[in-house]
Amino acid sequence: MRKVARLARLDPDDARVESLRAELSAVIGYVARVRAVDAAGVEPLVHVSDEPAHLAEDAPGPTLPEGSAAAMAPESFGPYVKVPKVLGDEGGGA
């Protein structure tokens, strides 16, 4: 549970880990029935569309107004998103 939580970037406390263990065990036990289906040789269906993918023309188009992306962030500095120190002694883990 702790390993999956770390991969999911979640930090549940001990009590929550225990309740998640019980809830997810039941769900994983149920969904495991996909392993019992006789599907050998069946191509996985990732996406239902049968239309060819269209690449967008490589040309400039409209963009969000300057500063609107930074305005969505919890902390910003002018038109920039402010984040904690990533490189150096204390960061680098993300």
Binding site: A8, R9, L10, L20, V27, V37, P44, E51, A69
Partner: protein
């Protein structure tokens, strides 16, 4: 004015027999009153909506032709972006988030003259089938306030059922439009995957998500679809295929209608009220001259398992963007804390228990050593299911019928300690998403088996891009059914 349909409002506003301002004023007041007491409405856009209504009236007076949805008040599920107000996804993570743009479906509604009066409640990030998993509290069912309205488009369905608006937008990843429509006694349409642009719909499971309308009548569903459907270069999965106008010929019966019924639709999963309403619905179709044929779709038995693997896997990836850095809520940083720790704490504080459960499930089924056993096998089941649907349609079925849900709305809190039991309620709705097919839920009865009167839904599923024919079959049923316009007996006072 309360129970007027969208097409009627638009006609009356266009003719000048009523002003858009009067329609919108009444809808806003109802949204603030009944809407808040059902906890169906998270925010109303009073100034914006009244301003648009007055502008529309002025334009009409100048002789301009109003659009097909002139003056129709609409509520939008709060996981669909609006440039007015907030788009919270009913999550603490996005409690204060404002979108810099309108979703394409919203922009198209407004271009057609509809007026967005506010945002409706939902299960957080559209994950849930009851309306209970909102960070802003559960929505209540207008038929019985102690029961869930269904989800995840809980507020949209409850608001339409309560007569606040004749039309609302929802999103449907595994039944989130159809199941609440069934529980609230209204019409819910999930269009073919790719028919309606997902631009501006906050992604839950991108290969399954589709925006759809909730209305009281099939005609209004067709009207909404006509406006919001069509290619959008802003969504790479948006179809370029020609699609017929769903309003044209809506009242023409489907010739030699053949209705397929999978054996599971009459199975032991159904509670008695759903089983009997479904039998009645099939009799209604038979009375219309339809041929009812039994179908064997064996992969339906694995559909819920495949759905919860695929949708959770996609959710774990899509929701990785909510890191507390670029959007939404950031935990108070601690001195010297790593970015990773800050991200984990922000997500743990900002995301609710059901969302965290799905992200954990999705992360697990995609993790090294499990991805082939779970994720790849789920996608193989998805292929088999789609092939079985294709074969059923190729054999002559126009639509496939099932109950929308295995029973009527359950009590708030009934599945609190058992998420799996809640997931199993989705057995009839998830297959259409896995296969990308259009599906609709229609009112097909009212049960009093549990004390209060509770509506039940009939689901019809059609081949991909046969949305117009699906609506015609639905219209046939509606016109022959006494349940076409249900009205909740209990609408709480404001």
């Amino acid at each position: 004015m309360e129970r007027r349909g969208a097409h009627q409002i638009a006609a009356d506003v266009a003719s000048g027999s009523i002003s858009a301002a009067a329609v919108i004023d009444e809808a806003l007041s109802s949204a603030r009153g009944i809407g808040r007491s059902l906890n169906a409405v998270l925010e109303t856009f009073d100034d914006h909506a009244m301003e648009r209504a007055r502008a529309l009236d002025a334009a009409r007076e100048r002789g301009e032709t109003p659009g097909p949805l002139a003056g129709v008040p609409v509520l939008v599920k709060d996981n669909i972006c609006t440039s007015v107000g907030r788009t919270t996804c009913a999550s603490r993570m996005l409690e204060h988030y404002t979108s810099p743009f309108d979703a394409t479906a919203v922009a198209r509604l407004e271009a057609a003259g509809a007026i967005v009066i506010g945002k409706s409640n939902l299960d957080e990030f559209a994950m849930g089938g009851s309306g209970e998993h909102s960070a802003f509290g559960p929505t209540k069912n207008p038929w019985d306030l102690s029961r869930v309205p269904g989800g995840s488009s809980s507020g949209s369905a409850a608001a339409v059922a309560a007569g606040i608006v004749p039309m609302a937008l929802g999103s449907d990843t595994g039944g989130s439009v159809r199941q609440p429509a069934a529980f609230c006694g209204v019409v819910g349409l999930k269009p073919t995957y790719g028919l309606v642009s997902r631009l501006g719909l906050v992604a839950f499971a991108s290969s399954l998500d589709q925006i759809g309308p909730i209305t009281r009548t099939v005609r209004d569903a067709a009207l909404a679809l006509r406006v919001i459907a069509g290619h959008d270069p802003g969504d790479a999965t948006s179809s370029r295929r020609h699609h017929p106008d769903p309003l044209e010929g809506l009242d023409h019966r489907v010739h030699h209608l053949t209705v397929g019924v999978p054996r599971q639709a009459r199975g032991e999963a159904n509670r008695p009220e759903a089983a009997s309403a479904f039998d009645d619905a099939l009799r209604t179709f038979a009375g219309l001259g339809a041929r009812i044929v039994d179908l064997d779709l064996p992969s339906l038995d694995a559909a819920i398992a495949a759905y919860y693997i695929v949708s959770s896997a996609e959710a774990s990836s899509n929701l990785a963007r909510f890191d507390g850095l670029r959007y939404g809520r950031r935990a108070a940083s601690r001195p010297g804390e790593s970015v990773e720790s800050l991200v984990s704490r922000s997500r743990t504080e900002g995301l609710g228990p059901e969302v965290q459960r799905r992200i954990m499930l999705g992360t697990h089924v995609l993790s090294a050593g499990y991805a082939d056993a779970y994720y790849a096998n789920a996608l193989r089941v998805r292929r088999l299911l789609k092939n079985e649907f294709d074969a059923a349609f190729a054999s002559g079925c126009h639509v496939i019928a099932t109950p929308t849900t295995p029973g009527a709305a359950f009590r708030i809190g009934a599945h609190d300690r058992d998420p799996l039991a809640m997931y199993l309620e989705d057995l009839y709705t998830v297959p259409a998403n896995l296969a990308g097919l259009p599906a609709i839920s229609l009112p097909c009865g009212v049960s009093t088996a549990q004390g209060s009167a509770l509506p039940l839904g009939l689901q019809l599923i059609a081949p991909a891009f046969h949305d117009a024919e699906l609506l015609r079959a639905a219209r046939m049923f509606e016109s022959a059914s006494p349940h076409d316009v249900l009205r909740p007996p209990v609408v709480p006072a404001a």
